[in-house]
Amino acid sequence: MDPYQSLLDRLKRQHTPYAVTWELTHRCNLACFMCYNVPRAQPELSTEEALDVLEQLARAGVLRLTFTGGEVLARRDFLTIARRARELDFAIDIKTNATLITPELADELAALHPVEVEVSLLGATPETVQGVMGGHRTLNRILGGVRLLLNRGVRVTLNSLMMRINLHEREAMMALARELGVPHRMVFKISPDDDGNDKSRGQQLPFEDMVTLYGEMCEPFQPRPGHPRARTCSVGLHACLIDPYGVVFPCIELRIPAGSLRQQPFETIWREAPIFRELRERHTLAHMPACRTCPLQTYCEGRCSGAAWKERGDLYAPHTLACRQAQARYHSLHPAEPIPSPAFFLEPAP
């Protein structure tokens, strides 16, 4: 096995925190209609608090640190925090809408040597981007920011959340990425808000489009039988999320608080929080009876406990989007056969 993968597997088994996603702020200069952040009426971590958290994360062994928001560049002390992170030898990734990047800021970002800057691209025309993200001349500003980074040798990836509103521009978004010479990632999961409000549900792709996309895009897929001890994802094992208020969560989707860094050290939260213990001990197919016995289980890749929690109030339940995606994957691979229904509450697939 690849030595890096082997090490990651070991870190997961040992519950060593390796990767942290950190929402530095929920402030943003844009207003994407499907944004899942729910800002709270309390102060975000101060610069001093954030620098202290960095020291704690370094001591705990975290290597990969992803800064996200909100819009991270809307935080005036972003560079102070990111520079300190580099001094502490973190490998940093930055998620941004890129619209605030000036030549001077691009110089500073390049000097941080991020592993990757991921930029959201939610359409290929000014009208669609405006419709999703708001702002003024937003697409131009995104592409301008990306070019400033690329000119300085920063590795950029474009990330597109595919929705009903922008699906028709999928090819054009891919063409834009090709023109810029950057990788393009497409995501099909529209998350409910952090408080569970599923306000953008109507933007989820229709079933027939999921089938088409799986047929066109996905790498060869081999159905895999799930062992009872198998995990549907590695939530709680070697990664977590910190929100702008210093609250630690298992992941960006699973918003069950593990503890506050304003009240407890990171290592205490990581080792002792009930939600982490629960996930480490029980987050296996053995505890997901509906999923384990589902006829589509071997076609299911997108099951997410955070989504299940928000939708069903049950960490171990199935959830609609994963079931629909499993059906779409099945149908793209077996177009002539009837689509099995998951052992769940879905209406039959069309």
Partner: protein, 93 residues
């Protein structure tokens, strides 16, 4: 040609790393590379701080791993050379 022993290697500033139970993981954005090092390589990596010379590092390794100085020196030279070629370390006199 082997590297002079008085050179002081320094980890390249764009490289991120962490040591897990003696094994280092290096991430180099510039090289788009992730690499793991074994225990000896990780110790050399930690000592490449721009203050220890190749000779210093070899002397420390010789003590810690109970190998001859000549053997340690040869290993450190080869390792530093390889990392320098991959632009993971910088060399200064």
């Amino acid at each position: 040609m082997s590297l002079p022993d008085h050179l002081t290697p320094r980890r390249h500033p764009d490289t991120a790393f962490r040591v897990f139970e003696g094994e280092a993981v290096l991430i180099s954005p510039a090289q788009n590379m992730v690499r793991t090092l074994n225990v000896t390589g990780s110790r050399i990596w930690e000592l490449m701080d721009g203050e220890h010379s190749i000779a210093d590092i070899a002397a420390i390794l010789s003590q810690e791993f109970e190998v001859s100085t000549a053997h340690a020196l040869s290993s450190v030279r080869a390792f530093v050379q390889e990392l320098a070629e991959r632009q993971l370390v910088q060399l200064a006199s």
